[in-house]
C-alpha cells in the first residue's frame, strides 16, 4: 500500500493500523474476528438461559466470555498486537485497564462491605 497511509517497520504503528498485508489477508482477519465474536456472543446468550450448567458458575462464565470477546475485538478489529511497533498502544491500553479495574473493583468491593456492615435503612431511621 502507499507510503502515505502506512509506516514502515522501523516506526510505530498507529492504533487501528495493520502491518502491511494484501487486501485479501486484511479482509480474512476481519472475517476471522467476526466469526470468533459471533461464536462467543452465541455462547454467552446460550449460557445465560440454560439449565445445563451449574447455575452459580453462570456469572463467572459470562464475565470470562465477555473479556474473551473484548480481546477478540482488540486483536482483530483494532489491531492491537504484542508486536514492538505497538508498544505505546498496549501501554496506553494497560493504563486504561488499570483505572477501569480500580474504579469497578474498588466500587464493588467498598459498596459490598458497606452493605454488609450497615443495618438496613429502616433500622437506622428507627434509631434516630
Amino acid at each position: 500500500m502507499s507510503d502515505q497511509t502506512h509506516m514502515h517497520a522501523e516506526h510505530d504503528l498507529a492504533p487501528g493500523d495493520e502491518e502491511q498485508h494484501s487486501v485479501g489477508v486484511r479482509i480474512l482477519g476481519y472475517v476471522v474476528g467476526l466469526v470468533l465474536a459471533l461464536l462467543l456472543t452465541a455462547t454467552s446468550f446460550f449460557i445465560a438461559g440454560t439449565d445445563l450448567v451449574w447455575q452459580p458458575s453462570i456469572p463467572v462464565a459470562l464475565i470470562v466470555l465477555a473479556i474473551a470477546q473484548m480481546g477478540v475485538h482488540l486483536v482483530f478489529f483494532l489491531h492491537i498486537t504484542t508486536g514492538p511497533d505497538n508498544t505505546n498502544n498496549v501501554l496506553a491500553l494497560a493504563f486504561g485497564l488499570l483505572v477501569v479495574f480500580l474504579v469497578v473493583g474498588g466500587t464493588v468491593w467498598i459498596m459490598a462491605h458497606l452493605n454488609a456492615n450497615m443495618p438496613p435503612m429502616d433500622q437506622i431511621m428507627r434509631m434516630q
Partner: protein, 213 residues
Amino acid sequence: MSMTATAGRAHADPHHIGVVIEHPGPASKRIVTAYGFWVFLLSDIVMFSCFFAAYAVLSGQTAGGPKGSEIFEQGNVAIETVCLLLSSFTCGMASIAADVRNRFWFYLGMAATCVLGLIFLAIEFREFADLVARGYGPSRSAFLTAFFSLVGCHGLHVSAGVLWLLTMMAQVFAKGFRADVLRRMICFALFWHALDIIWVGVFSVVYLLGSGV
C-alpha cells in the same frame, strides 16, 4: 527493497536492544493523531467503567419496581448485538476500502455500517419508549436510573458515531481520500470498534447478568 531490509533488521532485534539506531524523528501525523484519539477512547472507556460500577452497585435497588429479569427481552438484545457486530465488520471493510482508495466499496461499507447502526438505535429507542410508557422510567428506581444512564450513554455515543459516519462519507465525496480525511477515517474506525467493545460489556453485564438478579 530498502523497506524489506529494515523490516528484516527490526525483526532480528525488535526492541533495538543491541544497536544504537539513528533517531528517526517525530512520528508521522497519522500516528500522532490516531494515538491521541486512542488515549481519548481509553478515557471514554474509563468514564463508562464508572457507569458500569454504578450499575453493579445499584442493580438490586429496585425500590419495589421491576427487576431486570422482568423488563429485559433477550431476543431484542441479541438482534442489537448482531447488528453492532456486523456494523463493526462493515466498518472494517470501509477502512480497507479507504486505504486502497476504492470509492465504491468505501461508500457501500459505510452505508451498511450506517443502516446497521440505525437499526440498533431504533430497537434501543423502542425499548426505552416502551419502558417509560409502562411507568418504568429512569426515576422509578435506582436500578432503572443506572440502567438508563449506562445504556443511554452508549446509545448517545452510537448516535454521535452515525453522525460522524455520514460526515466522513460527505468528506470523501467532496474532498476525496486526502491524508487528513484518512486520518479522520482511522479515528472514526477506532471509535466505532470501541463502541462495540463497550456494548460487549453492556449486553454481558446489564442484560445477561442483570436477568439473573
